[in-house]
Each structure stands twice: as C-alpha cells, then as structure tokens.
C-alpha cells in the first residue's frame, strides 16, 4: 500500500506543478505579447515619424517592419506555452486560432472606410485594429480556449482571452471618441496604451490564480 500511496502522492504533486506551469505560461504569454505588439508599433511610428518622407524610405520601412514581424514570430515560437504541455487539444486547433485572429481584422479593415466618423479611411485604419483585436480575443476564447478548458478540466484556471478581449471591446468607445474629438495621434496612443495595460493586468490576474495553486498547500 505504501508504494501505491507514493505513486498517488507523486501524481498529485505532478498535477499541481502542471496546473501552475500551464497558468504561468498563459500569464507569460500576455506579458510577452503586450510588450512585443507595443514595441512593434512604437518602432513603426519612429520610422515613419516626420513629414516629407520620400517614397523609397517607406519601402525601406515596410521591408524593415516585415523583418521585425518575422523576428517576433520566430521569438514567439520560443515562448513557453501552455499548449506545449501534454494537453488534450480541440480538433482543428490551428485553424481555429487563425480564424479567430484573421476574421475580425479581415472584416474590420474593409469596413473602416465606411464608418461615419468624419475621418479619412486610412486614419480610421490606424485605430480600427483596437476593436478588431478585442473581438479577435473574444473569438479566440469562444473558438479555442473554451474548448481547452472543457477538454482539460481543472487545468486552465481563468479565461484570459475573454477578460482581455472584453476589456478592449469595452474601452473601444473611448478610443473612437478620442479620434473624433482629439485627433488621430491621441486615439492611437490611447489604444496602444490601453492595450498594454489590459494585457499586463490580464497577465497579473492569471499569475495570481496560478500562484494560488501553490498557496493552497
């Protein structure tokens, strides 16, 4: 019986560590994504800041940003993710992730020009990513994360995609109002800043939940 107890105790500990790791990975992912997206857009802005930029400079900037994007994607491959653990995955998981993040942007960008906000369509494009990101995160929860939680009961302790997406959608009117009344720069800065705050708070929330697993003893 002692060896059975030892095995059971080991399995209990393994489960705790697994839950902790899984949720730490989720928290880390939000910290990393928030930092990388913001950094990316700040670099884009820095490159394109200033008037009278010659056409070739735009092309150079675009090529540079494509390289930065590729670098970010490669870096993300190395970020530990909860799904790297042995977890039950929903069918067509990859496609669901792509659909969650592609469709909202694919719908939002063509619609941007038709939004009657008294601004040129290209101006609206620079802030429309914000609500599209919010919808994409909610879609990621509904299409992927919710199924992960259902298939792996007790493993994922929170719903970070729903929280972050909901917060971004809820703060969208503020960004749009700023665009209309205070100008594009103000709205863009507000969107970027709010996104970092939302991602960081979401990461902290998931981290707190994860650490409770250990605190429970």
């Amino acid at each position: 019986m002692e060896s059975l107890e030892g095995m059971s105790e080991l399995a209990r500990l393994a489960r705790k560590v697994r839950v902790l790791l899984c949720n730490l990975c989720d928290a880390l992912y939000f910290f990393v994504m928030g930092g990388l997206i913001t950094g990316y857009w700040l670099v884009v802005s820095a490159l394109l800041a200033g008037a009278n930029v010659p056409r070739w400079a735009w092309w150079c900037a675009a090529a540079g940003m494509a390289l930065v994007t590729a670098g970010i994607l490669l870096a993300l491959e190395d970020v530990p993710r909860a799904t790297h653990l042995a977890v039950r995955k929903p069918k067509g998981e990859g496609l669901r992730w792509v659909a969650s993040f592609l469709l909202p942007f694919a719908v939002a960008y063509p619609l941007a020009g038709r939004i009657p906000l008294g601004r040129a369509s290209w101006e609206i494009l620079s802030v429309i990513w914000y609500p599209a990101l919010g919808v994409a995160l909610v879609a990621a929860h509904l299409l992927v994360y919710r199924d992960y939680k259902r298939l792996n009961p007790g493993l994922f302790l929170s719903s970070p995609f729903l929280i972050a997406g909901g917060a971004i959608v809820a703060t969208t009117p503020l960004v749009l109002a700023l665009m209309v009344y205070r100008g594009l720069e103000s709205a863009w800065l507000m969107a970027t800043g709010t996104m970092v705050v939302v991602y960081t708070l979401t990461g902290l929330y998931v981290l707190k939940k994860a650490l409770r697993v250990i605190a429970r003893g």
Binding site: M1, S3, L4, E5, M7, S8, L10, A11, A14, R15, V17, R18, L21, H84, L85, A86, V87, R88
Partner: protein
C-alpha cells in the same frame, strides 16, 4: 506487489520507472532523453528499455529535433499515454480510498 493489485491497473505504467517517466512528461511536457536520464538517475540502456516499452504501447513519442545547441532526442506523452496515466491515477486514488476506509 503485482499479485496484490487488480488486473485492470495498467501494467506498463505500474512499473515505478515508467510511472516516473510518465509523471515527468505529464508535469513538464516534452523533455529530452538526457533530462529524463538525469532526473531518474538511471543508465541510458535502462532508459531506452523503458521508453521502448512505452513507445510500443503508444504511450510516448520519441523524435529528433534540431536546436541551436545541436540535435536532441525529445520524448513526449501521446494522447493515449495521457489518457492511460490519468486513468491509472484515478484508479489508484479510488483504491486507496477504499483501503483507507474502515471495514463495515
């Protein structure tokens, strides 16, 4: 020990070394063979033997990956391995509960 145990307990995972391997992979995700060998404190030969048994049963997948530090052999728990491990843990918990409860 085997004679005292019910027959429906997974014989592959009831081996202590294989149970440890499954626990590590369940807990930490895919690991390299050298990590498993160091964690368990066993020889290469022993590790190969245990992994072969688990691989034949479809519990683990062994594959070569190329890392910046050179090629590594990665071991990961399969869906089948995960299900079997969880089922065994559940059975053990149930059995221990029965053994601990006072006789009527």
């Amino acid at each position: 020990m085997d004679e005292e145990l019910p027959r429906d307990l997974d014989p592959v995972l009831m081996n202590p070394k294989r149970f440890l391997i499954a626990s590590i992979l369940y807990m930490l995700g895919p690991r390299t063979m050298s990590f498993l060998r160091d964690s368990l404190g066993i020889t290469w030969g022993d590790l190969y033997r245990q992994l072969k048994t688990m691989e034949e049963k479809g519990y683990v997948r062994v594959r070569k990956v190329f890392t910046p530090l050179g090629p590594r052999t990665l071991v990961e728990l399969t869906e089948r391995g995960l299900e079997s491990y969880l089922r065994l843990v559940e059975q053990l918990d149930r059995m221990l509960k029965t053994l601990r409860s006072p006789p009527p």
